[in-house]
Symmetry: D2
Subunit: 100 residues, 4 copies
């Protein structure tokens, strides 16, 4: 399959647009972490820093959700259609970890 | 009080050792975010990236716990002792946000 | 299909053994909630009650994980195999909600 | 202190109004758990059950938040004012557990 991806040695080729969006999310998160450092070193009040950490957690969660949605729509669905059912257990195991 | 901190315009002077530890945590998290970018751009399998995002979330959570513990032991306790009871409602409001 | 389940009006026939296990989980959780009421009405210390609430949350989470695993292994996989691809978006939407 | 509570053998006398509200929350949650059982035994679709589990988790979380807020405003603050500083470490330990 040309637009897939997921089986050869567990690699995943991502679409340009998807990759751009996911990279942007990570760049913003990297900036937020640097912002936390500045707050810390400028004696900003703990409460304000902790609220900002919540925002970073939410941003990471959005990144995860987008990546997981792509994963299910491409790798998981394609593999099930091709009879590679081990992808099902793999998804279940992943979700057990993510749902802690 | 010499070793405190918390009331003048909502600033917080942090001990050197505490500051060093918290900065180290954030530097490690920044490195983890850069690692996520590399994984993404090297076509690493979604499942492996999502497990790594969980590790970043856990690291951020540890940072929050340490900062919150320091906050309660210094700012919150000192203010209650000094009769600045507004710090109580402030802590309650903060925890409502952190516990989502 | 005899052992499935999932398409006619969004119902799901569950295996006896699975049903028994899931019911047991919910019965234990119901008992835990009644235990919380007793603690509350016997003036038990807040900290001890809050720790017990965490245990209930963990038990509910285990129930969710088991139900979700069954759902993916049966309804989701069967529907993808049969070409009912709307189950994919439905799973993605569900996970977005569960991951908050 | 007459309206407190928190030090003698780790018990906590709760106000009537507070107790009524917290009991109501738990009764509603107990009803929700019974509702989950009915859904399960009536072959309701997994997705709908899982969404309902999320609602129960949110209700438990609201119960925890209210109990924790009361705890901080009464036991924690009173003990700090009375110089019983072990309550500070106890709160920190509790929050570490609740924030997982």
């Amino acid at each position: 399959m040309e637009d897939c991806c997921c089986t050869s040695g567990k690699h995943k080729h991502r679409e340009d647009e998807e990759l751009r969006r996911l990279n942007n999310r990570l760049s913003r998160i990297e900036g937020q972490i640097r912002g936390l450092k500045e707050m810390l070193n400028n004696d900003i009040y703990c409460t304000d820093i902790l609220i900002q950490v919540s925002a970073v957690n939410a941003a990471l969660n959005s990144f995860s959700k987008e990546l997981l949605a792509n994963h299910i729509k491409t790798c998981v669905a394609d593999n099930i259609r091709q009879g590679n059912d081990e992808v099902i257990d793999e998804l279940v195991t992943l979700l057990q970890k993510l749902m802690r």
